[in-house]
């Protein structure tokens, strides 16, 4: 096993490596499972009902876990992704069916009704949600996972017998630590996601809310949660453990809330990924409690997935994870932007000017940002692309990793508008092409094209990788007005360059006018 991981693996090689990992995994684990399930697996739930302990049950959960791995693996390319999603559904079906088959069910009707209610709600939401609302939907879903983890943890606490957690007549200390952690992580995920949802959907201001001494409060609360978990593990009897677990749950809800309120709107991609990660760790902690392989594998997958996404987002903003978590970025928007700014001349253009220049170009690179999502301009943008391509113009899309409010947000919107994914490029793949581009067309993006990130050491976004739009022959910048600055609260030199023409209007309206002028 060691030799498998000691060799360094690039993402491209990972595919080859993966299969061997699978093989090694299955080869070494299947006998281990068979052994432990027969001799070592003492689940009182089964023992109590007189049911024989079945190694196939553990195998079924393992298969379900492997299917979840395949579900994520499928996402390595759009062509395999749909098969991957089906693997995920199959894995879930196996896990649920196995659980139902191997447990004595007091009332199957109640369970069926619960699944039907939840399933119907979920399905309707999934069908109706607008693609631009995807970030808040994901945040809302995270909160449900978190709350479900809290509920399961509490249910396990109240009825440890059903979960096979009894050692003698009380819950084992290790199980209690796992249970406490599961409840705590679940509760943090829940309240944190609720705040993220409120901020993303505009129900709450996106600007950071900074409490005095918030770091002291947060660290103190976290320490209190750890101490309570330890006390909970050592205490015995309902009278002693009950107040501890209640305090633990409440504090965890509070800390989730406190952790997210100081984080500003622009940092939401990191927050959403981080909460994604937490929901995974919550599932893993519950998996430890129940000794369930499917839950542990899934938890580990989701946990690392969210962690990697957070890392990618932080890297794309050149900020450390800790500084994002500490919050407060973009808090001084109005103050910082207002004083340093001198009135510099800029050129303003009309849709007709833009249409004329775009038609003449050989190569156009479009840079979409959150503004495009807000204005719902992706469909109009696709029409413009089609018209330009008919006229022989080469059009490409350039997407910054932190464009929008969640990882991959822009890609989904462009896909929704039927833009071919072959035309959509990541930052490092397209940045060298700006020098050959006739037109850089910026729509709803700002900080990701700000050259201050390369030149101005005092700028809050210094070091963040940005698009080299200043190398393009002509820049069009669609922006609602000259007044606003980006989320980082810094002025953008691109506005005032000789080759820049500002198109001051709503993004959708402007693109529609350009389309009309092109026709």
């Amino acid at each position: 096993m060691g030799s498998l991981f000691s060799t360094s693996v690039t993402p491209a090689q990972a595919g080859v490596q993966m299969t061997s990992v699978f093989r090694a995994l299955t080869r070494s684990w299947i006998p281990a499972f068979a052994g432990t399930t027969v001799f070592g697996y003492t689940a009182p739930a089964h023992a109590a009902t007189g049911e024989a302990v079945n190694p196939w049950v553990a195998l079924a959960y393992l298969v379900s876990g492997v299917f979840f791995i395949l579900a994520l693996r499928g996402l390595s390319s759009p062509s395999t992704s749909r098969t991957g999603n089906r693997f995920g559904m199959a894995g879930m079906l196996i896990a649920v069916a196995t659980t139902l088959v191997t447990h004595d069910i007091a009332n199957i009707v109640e369970i069926a009704i619960a699944i039907a209610i939840g399933g119907l709600i979920g399905f309707l939401i999934a069908r109706r949600i607008a693609m631009t609302a995807m970030p808040e939907l994901v945040a809302a879903f995270h909160s449900l996972v978190g709350l479900a983890a809290v509920l399961v943890g509490w249910a396990a606490y109240l009825n440890p017998g059903a979960f096979g957690l009894l050692v003698g007549d009380s819950i084992g200390a290790v199980s209690k630590v796992e249970m406490g952690l599961g409840i705590a992580i679940g509760a943090i995920t829940f309240s944190g996601s609720v705040i993220a949802f409120a901020k993303l959907s505009g129900r709450m201001s996106g600007s950071p809310i900074l409490l005095p001494a918030r770091h002291v409060i947060n660290l103190g609360t976290l320490a209190a949660i750890i101490v309570l978990t330890a006390l909970f593990a050592m205490a015995s009897g309902h009278e002693e453990t009950m107040p501890l677990i209640i305090a633990l749950t409440v504090l965890a809800f509070v800390i989730g809330f406190l952790l997210i309120i100081p984080i500003g709107g622009a940092d939401m991609p990191v927050v959403v990924s981080m909460l994604n990660s937490y929901s995974g760790w919550a599932a893993a902690a519950m998996g430890f409690t129940l000794g369930n392989t499917a839950m542990i594998i899934t938890g580990a997958l989701v946990g690392s997935s969210g962690a990697i996404l957070s890392y990618i987002m932080c890297r794309a903003m050149n900020r450390s994870f800790l500084s994002v978590i500490a919050g407060g970025f973009g808090a001084d928007d109005s103050a910082g932007g207002g004083e340093a700014k001198e009135q510099r001349p800029y050129k303003q253009g009309s849709a007709d000017d833009a249409a004329f220049m775009l038609e003449q170009a050989d190569k156009v690179i479009i840079i979409p940002g959150y503004g495009m999502a807000v204005a719902q301009a992706q469909h109009a943008l696709r029409e413009m692309t089609d018209l330009l391509e008919e006229k022989g113009v080469e059009v490409k899309f350039a997407i910054h990793p932190v464009a929008g409010r969640m990882p991959g947000h822009m890609n989904v919107l462009l896909a929704e508008a039927s833009v071919d994914y072959d035309k959509v490029f990541e930052l490092e793949d397209i940045n060298s092409e700006f020098a050959q581009a006739d037109v850089a067309f910026i729509i709803g993006a700002n900080d990701v094209v700000n050259p201050a990130a390369k030149t101005d050491k005092s700028s809050p976004i210094y070091g963040m990788p940005v698009f080299d739009v200043d190398k393009a022959k002509q820049v069009f910048f669609i922006k609602r007005s000259m007044g606003g600055v980006g989320y980082a609260g810094v002025d953008n030199d691109v506005f005032y360059m000789d080759q820049t023409m500002m198109l001051l209007s709503d993004a959708k309206k402007m693109v529609e006018e350009i389309v009309k002028a092109l026709d």
Binding site: F5, P11, A14, V21, W29, T37, Y41, I69, A71, L72, S81, G84, G88, G91, M92, V96, H103, A106, E110, I111, A114, I117, G118, G119, G122, A126, R127, M134, V138, F141, L144, V145, A148, A149, V152, W154, A155, A156, L158, N159, G161, A162, F163, V174, A282, M286, M295, I296, G299, A300, L301, G303, S304, G306, L309, P401, M406, V412, A415, Y421
Partner: protein, 94 residues
Amino acid sequence: MDFISILSIFVLACFVGYYVVWSVTPALHTPLMAVTNAISSVIIVGALIAAAAADVPGAKWLGLLGIVLASVNIFGGFAVTARMLAMYKKKEKK
């Protein structure tokens, strides 16, 4: 299962997750979040166990509520992922 076997599975799964997720194309990061969301609702297994046992009513009702929440996520998560992925189809050239 003893703690060490469970821990081994967990650690290995973290490594698997690490390599698998790095191989996910950035264009599909939003579907990745939606599908990880759906699969983390495998926590429904715990809710089902709680709801199946009749002896402690409090635990049973928490379990049933857990099933409802997890089901929203499972059906919603997979359906919305499928909807997104359907949009990534390659367009035929006219």
